[in-house]
Symmetry: D2
Subunit: 323 residues, 4 copies
């Protein structure tokens, strides 16, 4: 293993830069050259890559986004596109690839690995935290804390006015951000995906709370596969319980910003272990952290699966919002 | 002047608590009792008020919102409602009123003062910064910095993906937040109110930028009287310049949060001067800060007016977004 | 179990309020009254306690510090003091105690439990993270993130000037904050406790870095049992490698501030489980989180022990600072 | 005016990057090339400069520090050093210089302008805010807000423990940061420079407060010309009023970090006006903002002077800390 490359793909996540830096440093530490591929798989197909230099990764550990850029590439979904990408890697004599991204990117990376034999180590980097095979993905902790900060701000105005707020958080079809930010933010209720039956429960819960003397409430809504869904929910609830409400869709603010310590340390750990795994001859694997231990699993076994939230979070949430 | 009351009315703004604290402390300093009225004019009509104690204003200087609560009261818009409110004040032997709020609240406060003779000093507290007679309203600086923080986060993801973002900021029909946050956030363009002709200019400006090699852009949109207007603008622009875009409406997150130093110091200054003004026999006046000097103006002369933005901000914005 | 009490003792830690709120809400959920004891063990001895009401824990989830207050009590170190405290609890018909604090407080709580038979459940709350029997203590994640934020700021000026900085972080004799904040902050070196031999290594490491072209460096120093120790280290290093340096002791800023999501969720979990444990008849136990599972251990087995840092953190740190 | 250069000198201040970006963009807007000089006057003497490109100033508006680097140069204090620097500028055919820095840097810049005839426009950039001829220097607002954030955190722990804290803020021999952060942070007392007589007053003031029932207090100390002076003050006060205390020296954390909106807008304004001034043939002038208007004054009239704080701040502080 003389030369490896690192690529960030799909949605960006805070901590990706800390991970790129760790990959570079772990490479140098082991005498391996590290190339950076720009603009995700699109850049890989175009051969848009460069040898990373110390200065490229200087002063980036704290920056959100990814200095390499990212994209979603249609062409890479085809075997021809992946072959072009592989040719570019071979042309640069790159012996292994580290891929930082989410489920969609992992699928492409796995095909690349299987079709061309290029060893690929995948690192979970997505704010949604929906990758199986790891307890946490890079970017999740930061996204939760940003959502939480927004909820704290909204609480100030919710209390001052005695208002009902619906705060929609990201997380795609998973509810990890909603659970953490909702519990940490003292939400009165969490709305998860399969919405309909929940609205009944929500209305009755809110009515109980307001009857008991509560004057304001924040309901945290998981976006699900329909970002903006909270407007409809708010309308239904407001009309049923006859109380005005406000909606706040936090949106892309949750994607950016300086990564938290947890995300940076996770990025460092996974980045270093990914490099070592390539050097050790591994390929087609995802590196994750489970029960605080670094673990490897075949990418094929983690892609396309829906990670479940811990059922104990639902119980915890019920107890804490019970009053 | 033996006993005064303080009320927060209309939309809450960060720094209101620092102002309440200053009013209380300035009162104590001058031997005047200070009452707090809960829930704005609605609470005043109900006589929902209490003698403020040292502990009530302890550890609140840094909190967003208002510990007194606030509301918009229909009843106070009628002479009968205002008479009820005045009766409550007289009943508690309150000799003067300090009102922290925005234009709508000032109107009501001015009627109260004129109709009942109760001396009222108004303090501008609104994130919109649209009150004439003061360079800054309490809460504006905080709202701008929160909007800016969100823009900074969005920039991370905008750059990483090479994307076009529309970020809608608050400010009602005024553009103060949009100007400050847009210039400070390095926006590629600002969309102010009278939208239509601007969209043409915006499209052509963005096309010039992208032709020159820029890969991403953030357009800051002032909400105007139609919050959510940025969705329509984004759709029009995206279809015309054939580039995908994302929208982020910052919403009520801009209302809450810990006030900045500037907002707290302004709140302290205006709170202290308002108390001294009541003691000096003033009434029916708004206290503001103009050119860094504390000034008083009749409330009747500031209400119902649209404060204009400094035309030099538009020039500055044009120069800075020119490339 | 009809009535329980909660006390915060020793150094305060962000997230204690979120924990008090969770204890209260879990109590209500199970039909148990919850009393709050003011000023730690000192307040317990004085009988300074009150029945917690919904409003007492409203809008506190995001606040640093502890609304109950805390202290270090000499009197409680004596059997007589503890008996007085127990009498106060019995007088109020309190059937169980939840104690949020660190090692020193746990010792006292354990004596109380053993001597008087009052069931005590201890919850680890200390920014130092030095309690055995739990992977994380409440407050640690927040302290690390505050330290990190400061390091990020110092990096700006360190790079601009090409300077060497020593940043001393809290953590008492443990190095958890130093490890996390150092790795996350991109420190060039970490100085842990048994200082002397390290200084040699540090000087040689820094010289290597500067020879290779690095212009600035941040060294993170664990305070150990001598807060302020970094001044001496800086002096020695500066004179040996002939390079000016600056010192920044982060101090008590690391103790306060709004808790992170991680700390609030941990506080919620442990608070709820502590209440349930009392109801289930447990006593003399600490509730912690190990490998993401809630676990209980006898307080007697966790007190007085020094929790070790994970040796893999040292390896990770060496790889990442190797260049 | 075909080519100008920009240099940052002396202590770095948040907002310098926003100013460099504004200088570059204003240059492009007017068809003037802009060079960046690295490492302050030291880099100028070495000819360490480069033509700024769009990408150099992309995504820097929100970064603390200065991408150009800065330094304090002994050689530039000599006429020979300045002549070398001027030769470098002439060699690159640079027709004018924009200097961002503080009083010390202005002196050097003024000598350069007077001795060599190179037009120099100075922009005040220092967190100390001690430059006469401008109401605000770039970086001051950010430094105040960082100090304030730290004070807010310390308040959490001060209240929880009922403790006396001394918080030392930067500002060199000026007290601007101390005044703003002290008033905004709800300090119980401010200690300014000429210390001795104040300590008497401080002790008596604190004793009054504690007698009245206050349990904690934060005293904000201006560092003056002896950083670390608060340790001595704390010791004296603690022994006189027989109350334990803690000291926190905020130090260089106040220098870095993302600039506030106010600092970025000020940086934008002054940067643009400085470029226009050079184009208009001005030289030897400082551009500042007074009473919200951009003003120019001869550098010779602003250097070496001590800017006074507004006496009304002292009165305001006395009223607010009176209880």
């Amino acid at each position: 293993m003389k030369r490896i490359a690192v690529v960030t793909s799909g949605g960006d996540a805070p901590g990706m830069n800390a991970c790129i830096r760790a990959v570079y440093r772990a490479g140098i530490y082991s005498g391996v050259e590290v190339y950076g591929i720009r603009r995700g798989y699109a850049g890989m197909i175009d051969g848009d890559m460069f040898k990373i230099d110390r200065r490229d990764v200087g002063n980036i550990i704290h920056l959100g986004g990814t200095i390499l850029g990212t994209s979603r590439s249609e062409e890479f979904r085809t075997p021809e596109g992946r072959q072009k990408a592989a040719d570019q890697l071979l042309d640069k004599e790159i012996d292994g690839l580290i891929l930082i991204g989410g489920d969609g990117s992992f699928k492409g990376g796995n095909f690349l690995s299987e079709e061309t034999g290029i060893p690929v180590i995948a690192i979970p980097g997505t704010i949604d935290n929906d990758i199986v095979g790891t307890d946490f993905s890079i970017g999740f902790d930061t996204a939760v804390n940003i959502a939480l900060e927004s909820i704290d701000r909204i609480r100030d105005t919710a209390i001052s006015h005695g208002r009902l707020f619906f705060v929609e958080v990201m997380g795609h079809t998973s509810s990890f951000i909603a659970f953490e930010a909702g519990i940490a933010g003292g939400a009165a209720h969490l709305v998860l995906h399969d919405g309909h039956q929940e609205v009944e429960e929500l209305c009755s819960h809110l009515q109980t709370l307001f009857t008991r003397g509560k004057h304001h409430a924040i309901v945290v809504v998981a976006e699900g596969d329909q970002p903006g869904c909270s407007f409809g929910i708010a309308k239904t609830v407001s009309s049923r319980i006859e109380m005005e409400s406000r909606v706040c869709v936090l949106g892309h603010t949750q994607r950016g910003g300086s990564p938290t310590s947890r995300d940076r340390v996770l990025a460092a750990k996974l980045g270093v272990c990914a490099v070592n795994a390539l050097i050790d001859g591994k390929g087609g694997m995802m590196v994750g952290e489970v029960m605080r231990e670094v673990v490897f699993q075949p990418i094929s076994e983690v892609v396309g699966k829906q990670r479940e939230t811990d059922p104990r979070m639902a119980i915890l949430s019920r107890i804490l919002t019970g009053y």
